[in-house]
């Protein structure tokens, strides 16, 4: 039997990016906030200092910073004709764990989505007609506009000190920036990062092709920065250990480097670590959350009553908690009814490997978000008429590291081992390069999340089951993007070029990206969305669900910028409206 704790105003489940942002905003507004995090507390100085952070084996290969599947995993199948099996070791994506969440080990690629991404179904229907979209494609509008989110994107970027070069300030196109981006009120807080050799060559080839290269927006600092909370970040040293790693140099924007030093000084903020929330509790009407139940490191069960519950865990775990708590109607893909688990989407990545005779790229001189990219083939920035697909992605040369266990390329035909392999690795390490595309992922009726009937976690609670496969729309898009990327790379003069478009079926084995989206999406209609435009549950108005869980489908960008903007957007609505008059912010 759970023991009840004294009630608090707000309980937050998960202390990553969104939990930290909401905790800071609401403690600042006078609320008593308790954050429950199932992982450990993590500090830069003690958990990933520069003395041992640069360890490919420990962090990348052995997944030291991530959730352990032994604690919680999920099962996977492509479709209902298969039997789902548990993901026993992580592969395609890496669920985060611990204070700071994915904000600790991300690359820092900090994007805004395109204005048309937020009204995707309306926009595509207007431009191409409803017949252009497959029947089982369930993309929909977000019910929030780019213009409404712009001030919140701005807040997140200025929190992080994002380094970049604006392409559109108040409607005026800026030289050298991304001309396709939505208008921003002002430029990035810090200048773009310095570019290594390969991105510089790629930009020249892209320009020559008539495209519009620009520096990748980066959460790694091009110079020292003090954010509006007074927290300081140091300049990035381009050490090449960003994604999968914590930054020991205070150079990568994370909750640790931007918010927690201030948040932890609030007397009305409490964080409890190694406390795993097992349920969101509701009253007898099922329309009001009364708090959460959690299990601490000793296995003791506690109940934390609260006036408001903010679900801020990683995307899939938000969905699982909703299902396990019986909140909202589970999605039924056959009847196409219900909302919890609906519209799961991902990210469609691909690449081009190129081998050069006369280049030395120093791939280890790198950072998580240093690169030159083009957005000419993202979203609906290009005419899709006759192409047979919708969506797109950015592409280019991003130099994230030359770590040798996984970062060595050999030309096609090279054996996987032996003397010839060894020689090819030695010859090609400095002169080969992987270029990439980062494509969108539409939502479909069959791609959804539910509870697995067989497999459970150590507390004997059902695991989440992922039902997901790549659809012809995404495969055609990936082939198209990869071909365009290949044409540009060819202009750089490689002796050999190998294209790797994404192919089906979807596999959970090779790493692709941790950009999992949807499952409790935002929207205008409670029949097709779990959350209203302020990320408030339609069913339980004192419950808000943060993160990419709310994305109705994923755009051709990394999600964190939009996750941060949505967190500030929701925080703003909670502070300015909900706290004054608790209840639905949008009539159902």
């Amino acid at each position: 039997m759970a023991r009840a704790l004294p009630a608090t105003d707000v309980v937050i489940v998960g202390l990553g990016w969104t939990g930290s942002i909401l905790a800071q905003e609401l403690t600042q507004a006078g609320q008593r906030v308790v954050a429950l995090e199932r992982g450990a507390w993590r500090n830069t100085a003690t958990d990933f200092p520069t003395t041992f952070a640069q360890d490919e084996l420990r962090y990348h290969i052995r997944h030291s910073l991530f959730l352990k599947p032994a604690q919680e995993t999920l099962t996977f199948r492509n479709n209902a004709s298969q039997t789902a099996l548990p993901i026993r070791t992580w592969g395609s994506f890496m669920p985060p764990n611990g204070v700071g969440g994915g904000g600790v080990h991300w690359n820092g690629q900090t994007w805004r989505f395109n204005p048309t991404d937020f009204r995707l179904r309306s926009h595509l229907t207007e431009r191409y007609g409803a017949a252009a979209l497959p029947d089982d494609m369930t993309i929909q509008d977000w019910d929030v506009s780019y213009d409404e989110l712009e001030p919140h994107y701005d807040r997140f970027e200025y929190l992080c000190g994002t380094a970049g070069l604006a392409g559109n300030i108040a409607g005026k196109i800026q030289p050298g920036g991304n001309p396709f981006e939505g208008p921003r009120a002002r430029g990035y807080p810090t200048p773009a990062m310095q570019q290594p050799f390969a991105p510089t060559l790629f930009a020249a080839a892209a320009r020559e092709s008539g495209y519009h290269p620009f520096p990748q927006p980066s959460g790694n600092m091009s110079q020292a920065y003090t954010n509006p909370l007074g927290v300081k970040l140091g300049p990035c040293t381009y050490c090449g250990f960003c994604e999968w790693f914590g930054c020991g140099n205070y150079s990568k924007a994370s909750p640790q480097t931007t918010i927690l030093p201030v948040l932890t000084r609030h007397p009305n903020f409490t964080a409890r670590t190694q406390c795993e929330v097992t349920r969101i509790n509701t009253d007898s009407t099922g329309k009001r959350a009364t708090g959460v139940t959690y299990i601490d490191a000793a296995g003791e069960e506690w109940e934390q009553p609260a006036e408001m519950v903010l679900l801020c865990a990683f995307q899939i775990f938000n969905v699982r908690l909703l299902l396990l708590s019986g909140i909202g109607t589970p999605y039924d893909p056959v009847a196409n009814t219900g909302v919890i688990g609906r519209n799961y989407s991902y990210q469609t990545t691909s690449g081009v490997d190129a081998f050069f005779a006369d280049k030395n790229f120093n791939p280890f001189v790198a950072s998580g978000a240093v690169g030159m990219l083009i957005d000419d083939f993202n979203g609906d920035n290009f005419d899709h008429a006759g192409l047979g697909f919708v969506g797109g992605g950015f592409m280019g040369a991003a130099q994230t590291g030359g770590r040798p266990i996984l970062g060595t390329l050999t030309p096609p035909g090279t054996p996987a081992w032996g003397a010839a392999w060894k020689q090819a690795v030695a010859e090609n390490y400095q002169s080969s390069y992987s270029f990439s595309t980062h494509g969108s992922s539409c939502s479909y009726r069959g791609n959804h999340l539910d509870l697995d009937p067989t497999y459970t976690d150590p507390h004997v609670r059902k695991l989440l089951r992922m039902n997901f496969d790549l659809h012809p729309n995404e495969l055609k898009m990936s082939a198209f993007l990869t071909d365009r990327l290949g044409e540009i790379v060819q202009k750089m003069g490689p002796r050999q070029l190998v294209k790797h478009p994404r192919t089906g079926p979807y596999s959970v084995t090779p790493y692709q990206t941790t950009h999992l989206c949807g499952g409790a999406v935002m929207g205008a209609d409670p029949r097709t969305s779990a959350l209203n435009r302020y990320l408030q549950s339609w069913d339980v108005p004192n419950l808000f669900v943060m993160g990419a869980t709310a994305f109705p489908q994923n755009a051709g960008y990394n999600p964190t910028g939009t996750v941060g903007a949505l967190a500030y957007w929701a925080a703003d609505a909670i502070k300015s409206r909900y706290l004054k008059s608790p209840g639905p912010l949008v009539p159902a």
Partner: protein, 196 residues
């Protein structure tokens, strides 16, 4: 100074001798760079299998176990340590049967290479199952040991990093971002700080 690991933590002496031959076939020595054995790859694998990785403490190991589809990921009920131990024994049994009582390390190098190639292609059965799974695990462990920081026992003298020109745990490349198409000249440095 050289730090030498003392004794095997997981492997029996027989297993260790077999693994030292295997890693030298996968990464053979050449005049410029040592092979897997001299680089300490077998020591690396031994330490990994003796530790939490070998016993799968982080992995989801709850039943039921089923083979599933390749794109559903590994589903073995065995830990990496058990899988390795069983496969090594099966490999010696196989060569003993096929080469008149000689275990793997006693057959000629060309035959050893041919056996590894048959594991790679999936045509060699070990313990009644396809040898490719063991081959993939062994090759992955071998490359990890060759390229990981020397604190784990492999990549002795940072030989693998020297081979490709990776500077290791170097802290600050700010002066080098703008030096395009120029080879970085400094020797590698490991987490322990040694640049020798």
């Amino acid at each position: 100074m050289q730090v030498v690991a003392g004794g095997w933590m997981f492997f029996t002496p027989e297993e260790a001798a077999l693994v030292e031959v295997l890693v030298d076939r996968l990464i053979p020595p050449d005049p410029a760079t040592p092979g897997g054995k001299e680089a300490g790859v077998a020591v690396f694998i031994d330490r990994q299998l003796a530790g939490p990785y070998g016993s799968a403490t982080a992995l989801y190991m709850r039943p039921p176990f089923a083979d599933g589809l390749p794109n559903q990921g590994p589903q073995s009920p065995l830990t990496p340590a058990s899988r390795c131990r069983q496969a090594l024994a099966a490999l010696d049994r196989h060569t003993s049967d096929a080469f008149a009582g000689r275990i793997f390390r006693q057959i000629p190098e060309t035959e050893q290479i041919a056996v590894i190639q048959r594991m790679e292609s999936g045509s060699l059965m070990l313990n009644g199952s396809n040898g490719r799974a063991f081959f993939e695990m062994l090759l992955q462990h071998t490359k990890e040991g060759f390229f990981a920081d020397p604190i784990y026992g492999g990549n002795r003298g940072m030989a693998a990093w020297r081979m490709i020109g990776f500077p290791g745990a170097h802290y600050d490349y700010r002066d080098w971002v703008g030096r395009h198409n120029e080879r970085y000249p400094k020797p590698p440095v490991g987490l322990s700080g040694s640049a020798t």
